[in-house]
């Protein structure tokens, strides 16, 4: 009961804020809405017994990625001069985009409702998971079954660091 109520409230917040992200004129308001979306999603993850993902969601997305966004928005200080122009030309595009979006949603909705969720049941039921601890399980899997992707992820981050520095650095010396 309480869970359903929480889901409905959080779901409504998520949807409202997501729409806010899209339709806010000022990028900083979009960013604030996005942060709110992410934090509300973390609550949903807890409802789904994924505590670690919830914590990381807040820590990584809200605490790091979005700070970077807000940072860049402030640094660039994009002002009115950069307001989206050519309203007339875009009306058609906007309408068709929203139409396409609704279509996509309809398709996804139909697919999810029509599908019978089958598939092999794994061993990690919520009870079993609470016994071991969600975080411990994630850690165990990352260092056993998924150790290879885990190590690759470091290459990915390294490439991203190099890339970000090379693109945004002030002066590069020959």
């Amino acid at each position: 009961m309480l869970e359903s109520l929480l889901f409905i409230i959080m779901g409504l917040i998520v949807i409202t804020c997501a729409i806010g992200v899209v339709f806010q004129k000022n990028p900083i308001y979009s960013a604030v809405f996005l942060i709110q979306t992410m934090v509300s999603l973390a609550v949903l993850y807890i409802l789904l017994h994924a505590q670690f993902v919830a914590a990381v969601q807040v820590m990584v997305y809200a605490g790091a990625v979005m700070v970077l966004f807000v940072f860049v928005i402030m640094l660039l200080n994009v002002q009115r001069a950069d307001q989206e122009l050519g309203k007339d030309r875009l009306i058609f595009q906007k309408v068709s985009a929203i139409f396409l979006g609704l279509l996509l949603f309809a398709v996804i909705g139909i697919v999810t409702v029509r599908s019978v969720l089958q598939g092999t049941k794994g061993e990690y039921t919520p009870e079993h998971m609470n016994e071991i601890g969600n975080t411990q399980l994630v850690g165990k899997l990352l260092f056993t079954d998924y150790v290879f992707p885990f190590e690759i992820a470091s290459i990915l981050l390294f490439a991203a660091i190099i890339g970000a520095i090379i693109l945004a650095k002030k002066e590069l010396k020959e």
Binding site: I35, Q51, F52, A55, V56, V58, A62, G63, V67, V70
Partner: protein, 330 residues
């Protein structure tokens, strides 16, 4: 059914006691800071209001409450009003998982001296405090004042940089206890405090904690000589005091974490656990004030270099060494 009601009742009681005490402590923290600093500088500090100025925080609070609340004409109103709230809520929330004492039993019903013991305790704290940055950064932006903006940018950069070191410095302890729950961590220290096993981790934590709460010598975001008052230049009245409270609440949080992680939490002989916890925490706070009245301010590039090029590698090395030792000892 009765259980549920009792549980809810106790939870509400616990929350209100912790919350009330927290606010009171924050108020008196300011008094303590003024007094300690005064005596370090051979002054007396507040003396007029009450015995040795004990009622000073009350007077300050009433003064701030009745001041005119100014919202700058060009500010973006919503964010300007929201920012102080965003700053203080996470600061208070992180106390939800900190254990203040052992279990106590009242008429056959045992009560944990912690609002809630969740198995991702420290992750919860790190996640919640990382949201607190937005209070500052949005305050800086929404004031449409260049000093505020610069202060906001500086502080958010600083907080993000040092958050990494904070997280990494605690991992050594987590590796020893193999649990993220703060209750488990305190229980694991029944023999030895972890500061003995993790001296480097504690040093890194202590330094980055000072930086994380924007205290001297890392108080660049509000460097008076450069930025007026940093991100809260434009704030007045209650909104200003909310920022002030957030800052002190953060000091309490990092002190409480330090006590829990490195100094055995509420454990100690003779005295009741809660008292031990408070004593340890106030020693940490004294340390904060001590540093503030002793050291000059860093320069900004020094601050960043120190964080990224010294603290971070040291914290990483600490993790590697801890891991090696654990493997070798088995």
């Amino acid at each position: 059914m009765l259980d549920v009601i009792l549980f809810t009742f106790i939870a509400i009681i616990k929350i209100s006691i912790v919350f009330g005490l927290l606010l009171l402590t924050i108020a008196y923290l300011i008094w303590i800071e003024r007094k300690v600093m005064a005596h370090m500088q051979v002054r007396l500090g507040p003396m007029r209001v009450g015995w040795h100025g004990l009622l000073q925080p009350l007077a300050d609070g009433i003064k701030l409450l009745f001041k005119e609340d100014i919202v700058p004409y060009k500010a973006s109103k919503v964010l300007f009003i929201m920012a102080p709230v965003i700053a203080i809520v996470p600061a208070l929330m992180s106390f939800a998982v900190i254990p203040f004492g052992n279990k106590i039993t009242i008429s056959g019903y045992s009560i944990d001296m912690v609002i809630t013991d969740i198995n991702i305790g420290i992750l919860f704290i790190l996640a919640v405090t990382s949201v607190g940055v937005y209070g500052i950064i949005l305050a800086g932006w929404s004031s449409s004042n260049k000093y505020s903006l610069l202060g906001g940018l500086r502080s958010s950069a600083q907080m993000i940089s040092y958050e990494l070191s904070i997280g990494l410095s605690l991992i050594g302890v987590l590796m020893i206890t193999q649990s993220l729950s703060l209750v488990d961590i305190v229980n694991a220290q029944s023999k030895w405090w972890f500061v003995l096993f993790q001296p480097i981790g504690f040093m890194v934590y202590a330094i980055s904690a000072v930086a994380e709460v924007n205290r001297c010598p890392f108080d660049l975001p509000e460097a008076e000589s450069e930025l007026v008052a940093g991100y809260h230049t434009e704030y007045s009245s209650m909104k200003f005091s909310l920022f002030f409270m957030a800052e002190y609440a953060n000091i309490l949080t990092v002190s409480a974490i330090a006590v829990t992680f490195f100094f055995g939490g509420w454990r100690g002989p003779f005295l009741p656990p809660v008292i031990w916890f408070l004593i340890k925490m106030f020693l940490c706070i004294f340390f904060f004030v001590w540093i503030r009245s002793t050291y000059p301010r860093f320069r900004y590039d020094q601050l960043m270099n120190f964080g990224w090029k010294f603290l971070l590698p040291v914290a990483l090395a600490n993790i590697i060494v801890t891991g090696l030792v654990i493997v070798l000892i088995g």
